[in-house]
């Protein structure tokens, strides 16, 4: 939506395509906040923000992109506020900011613990104001590549049925992450990596796909997110004995170390038998009822609804869960991919500002800043080029593929494949990675893919056929799992979210301070390497 607004304001003829209504997007589930060096709560500046981000990324982030993000962040947040975002306020009426993990200053601007929700709302309001047409519940399935350019999208119309091809001079992917690859994930059912897979299938590289962030505080069993804001407000993490175990892992920052560090610490406590039924405890009791209710009402509601635990009286059992894909479609700092006319922004893209580990509060900021930049660039390109041509064969080919899928009357229902993919990814490609398990996962994915070829779509109807779209989504996920395994095996070091405790327990800047690029060549994923773009920060040892 941020990209659409920017492109519209630049004078372009814009439309949005979304498989769910725009306000249902999973950005709305972001709770804690958005990072910008506004210096409303203490001294701060974009340079410190940039350094925190570079360090947080375990020196895999591209420093030019990080500097852009941190420089433009304050202006972009003011703009959201001027558009009407309902931020929480400081005593003197400015936007309130709270401390977040691995940040040198309280930098995370917030609206209680529903920050993503209020930002999605304000963007939708601005879309309504501009009356930007939205193809709602259009499921984007394939990108149209013609003449060396991306010239549109083939969609399945969920409400009306049938394929619809929409031509465009430029296409911006803003399809979010792929957390559904995992059993325990904070991600929505709709986070199935559609944009990444669509780009991958037409030969574009996916960057740093092994970098899947595990959030330290998610609820068992399904992975519902409890915000980092809890720890920002002062919550403790305890093992079963009540010990604040982070003292042994991150003695300086304790609960406010970066997410990869805390997730690993939790997993080690759980593996060592100091957990509680596979969880550790997030203790808010000492914050007091007043503060919990004012600042963290949503988290309390989630804990009470899903676990029956009231955090005023009892600690919340939490565990690491798949949360955010640092990797994605490789883009430059204007969101451009390798293919002319195709852009990507947000979680589906990899600029890369997050490198090997994203800091809490930087994701919302990235969607806004790079959404804006992609929109501006895409509009400029569209306004200076005239033609769109989508050959008829595109839709015919898609139609044929679809008919084949729908005509199948026997086969396996896709849910078991989906569930097996998610549970094995969690087991073999989770917080800790081991060579043998990753190789095993590669074989598992190949086997699942084989079964997927005969998957049965039971619903043959035209109206709201989510059985069909769910099956296509599973195909996207299988492709992405392959890319992750390929990249994961080859990164023979421990960096950020990619931790290999057994064979390569430390970071190896000499050989691996570079990005993985996985692209589809002759039907299988091929790996190559690209250097990290550096400006002024030399790698240092990362301690919290």
């Amino acid at each position: 939506m941020r990209a659409a607004i920017e492109a519209y304001d630049a004078g372009a003829d814009v439309a949005m395509i979304s498989k769910i209504h725009p306000t249902r997007s999973h950005s709305g589930a972001a709770e804690g906040g958005i990072n910008a060096a506004l210096a409303n709560a203490s001294d701060d500046n974009p340079e410190i923000h940039a350094f925190d981000t570079v360090k947080g990324s375990d020196y895999l982030g591209d420093q030019d992109a990080i500097e852009i993000l941190c420089d433009e962040a304050p202006g972009d947040v003011y703009q959201l506020e001027n558009w009407g975002a309902v931020f929480s306020r400081t005593e003197d009426g400015r936007i309130a900011q709270r401390p977040f993990g691995a940040a040198g200053a309280p930098r995370t601007a917030y609206a209680a613990d529903i920050t993503g929700h209020v930002l999605v709302q304000v963007l939708w309001e601005q879309v309504c104001k501009r009356d930007i047409p939205t193809y709602e519940e259009y499921f984007a399935w394939q990108l149209v590549e013609n003449d060396g350019r991306c010239q549109g999208v083939v969609c399945w119309d969920l409400l009306g049925g049938g394929l619809k091809t929409i031509g465009a001079k430029t296409v911006i992917l803003a399809t979010g992450g792929a957390g559904r690859l995992y059993t325990g994930t904070t991600n929505a059912y709709s986070c199935t990596g559609d944009g990444m897979a669509m780009a991958f299938r037409i030969g574009l590289p996916l960057k740093d796909m092994e970098m899947m962030q595990f959030h330290p505080t998610t609820l068992a069993p399904t992975g519902v997110l409890i915000t980092e804001g809890c720890r920002g407000e002062g919550a403790y993490l305890l093992n079963k004995d009540g010990e604040r175990f982070l003292k042994r892992y991150a003695p300086n920052t304790m609960e406010l170390a970066s997410r990869d560090v805390i997730s690993r610490a939790e997993q080690m406590e759980i593996d060592a038998g100091r957990g509680v039924d596979g969880n550790v405890l997030l203790d808010l009791r000492h914050l007091g009822a007043e503060r919990i209710i004012e600042r963290l009402p949503g988290s309390r509601e989630l804990a009470m609804t899903f676990l029956g635990v009231d955090p005023i009286y009892d600690p919340i059992p939490v565990r690491p869960g798949a949360h955010y894909h640092m990797g994605g479609v490789a883009t430059d700092v204007w969101g451009q991919t390798e293919l002319t006319g195709l852009y990507a922004a947000g979680e589906c893209a990899c600029v890369s500002v997050h490198g090997a580990n994203r800091l809490g509060g930087n994701a919302l900021m990235e969607t806004i800043t790079f959404g804006k930049r992609s929109g501006a660039h895409a509009a400029e390109w569209a306004l200076s080029h005239t033609t769109v041509s989508v050959p008829d064969s595109v839709e015919r080919d898609a139609e044929r593929e679809l008919t084949e899928l729908l005509d199948r009357t026997e086969g396996e229902r896709p849910w078991a494949i989906r569930d097996e993919l998610a549970s094995t990814m969690h087991e073999n490609f989770g917080v800790f990675r081991r060579e043998r398990q990753m190789e095993e996962q590669g074989r598992i994915v190949t086997g699942l893919r084989e079964r997927y070829r005969a998957a049965l779509v039971e619903d043959k109807g035209e109206i709201f056929n989510s059985d069909l779209t769910g099956t296509i989504e599973l195909g996207f996920l299988l492709d992405l799992a392959d890319c992750m395994v390929v990249a994961g095996i080859e990164r023979k070091e421990s960096r950020g979210a990619h931790a290999r405790p057994d064979d390569y327990p430390v970071r190896d800047d000499e050989n691996f301070m570079k990005h993985t690029y996985v692209r589809l060549v002759d039907g299988s994923p091929q790996l190559s390497w690209e250097p990290v773009r550096m400006t002024k920060w030399e790698p240092q040892e990362r301690k919290y």
Binding site: I20, H21, T23, R24, S25, G28, A29, L38, V77, E81, N82, W83, G84, V86, F87, S88, R89, A112, I114, G116, V118, V122, C128, A188, Y189, V224, Y236, D241, G242, E243, R244, K247, R248, Y249, P251, V261, R264, A265, D283, R285, G288, A289, G298, R300, E301, L302, T305, F306, I312, P315, V457, D459, G461, I463, F464, S466, D467, P505, V506, K543
Partner: protein, 365 residues
């Protein structure tokens, strides 16, 4: 656990409608949404329902259980299943059905868009190019309204909309209040003029079903009340609903009781009131009103006047007269703030109290 569900299936292409029963095996923690997923995966792949976040924030999975709107992802099934009850699941009300539990949200969004649902900041921007300076207290006025996730549960239950499909409805009006109450918005009067027209603020029947059924504690009916209060404060009171409300206040303030005989002329105007004389006479015949209204002043009229004075002195005019804030956010009862932390730590079965390990050697990264 075993869960049984009856689901109203519907296909708008054929018009076929049927109540089907499903029996499934689900984990104890399953929500209604989890159960529907199991039905779709293992029993009938053609079942249609919307879902996305499964954590009560995206607003996709509004539907009815036993005739009342719920978010499927917020509804835990354990107690229901244990009681042996077989709930009936159906699509939300007041919206046309596409298929099964999927409704057509177009009417919902067109009403939303009719509210000018965006900030109209006027000409004054913050001079320093930064944020508007607003106190938290002022923002609290729109806090509940900004919690709305557009799920449609309130619209589903709206009695006024059932009789007048063009009624803007609780969601749209709550969205309107979100801007009317926002100090950054400069179009309050224009908004209230628009919202006060037919099918607007005053057409709400005050059944409070929207407050009752909102899964997020937005309390749309309270928002509508605030819009009414703001309208009257700003003199946008031509609508009969506004006049009706004003007469209640005036009547209580002057004589301490409601002078019903004057209510109709004061609300509808004298011409209209004369037309209703026959109806009035019939009411009088049945002893519902006194044939000859004799004005009198209630004994304790000063109490009513003092109440009014208190409100005026506190300067709680318009929407500010409605108490709310972040405390209302979670719509959850919390009445035990008197307990000390020590008492909380000492409760029976409490988790161990937090302690810091002695600084040992740093653990490996």
């Amino acid at each position: 656990m075993q869960v049984a569900l009856k689901i109203w299936r519907y296909d708008s292409a054929t018009g076929d409608r049927a109540l089907k029963e499903y029996e499934i095996e689900a984990p104890d923690w399953a929500t209604l949404l989890d159960c529907l997923d199991i039905v779709k995966d293992k029993h009938d792949g053609s079942l249609a329902f919307r879902k996305s976040c499964r954590m009560m924030i995206c607003g996709s999975c509004g539907m009815r259980m036993d005739g009342a709107a719920v978010l499927a992802c917020k509804t835990r099934m354990y107690d229901i299943a244990q009681s042996g009850h077989v709930p009936v699941i159906s699509a939300m009300g007041n919206l046309p059905i596409h298929k099964d539990l999927v409704v057509d949200m177009d009417p919902f969004w067109s009403k939303f868009k009719a509210m000018w649902p965006w900030l109209e900041p006027g000409f004054e921007r913050p001079e320093d190019g930064r944020e508007y300076r607003i106190s938290q207290q002022r923002m609290n006025v729109v806090h509940k309204e900004s919690l709305c996730i557009n799920c449609g549960c309130c619209v589903s239950e709206c009695n006024a909309m059932e009789s007048d499909p063009e009624f803007l409805g609780p969601q749209a009006l709550a969205k309107g209040m979100r801007f009317v109450g926002d100090p950054r918005d400069a179009h309050t009067v224009e908004r209230l003029e628009r919202y006060s027209q037919e099918h607007g603020i005053w057409d709400c029947t005050r059944c409070y079903f929207c407050n009752e059924r909102c899964p997020k504690g937005v309390d749309p009916r309270d928002a509508i009340a605030k819009l009414g209060a703001e309208s009257i404060r700003l003199g946008i009171d031509r609508d009969m609903g506004a006049k009706h409300a004003k007469w209640f206040v005036r009547s209580a303030e002057t004589t301490g009781w409601l002078r019903e005989e004057e209510l109709i002329p004061k609300t509808q105007g004298y011409v209209s009131a004369i037309k209703q004389l026959k109806f009035g006479a019939s009411l009088a015949r049945h002893g519902k009103v006194r044939p000859v209204p004799i004005p009198h002043v209630a004994k304790d009229v000063n109490e009513a006047r003092n109440l009014r004075k208190v409100v005026n002195e506190q300067d709680r005019q318009g929407a500010l007269g409605h108490v709310q804030g972040e405390h209302a956010l979670a719509k959850l009862d919390h009445g035990h703030q008197s307990e000390s932390l020590e008492e909380i730590y000492e409760r029976p079965g409490a988790a161990p109290r937090p302690w810091l390990p002695e600084s040992k050697e740093e653990a490996p990264k």
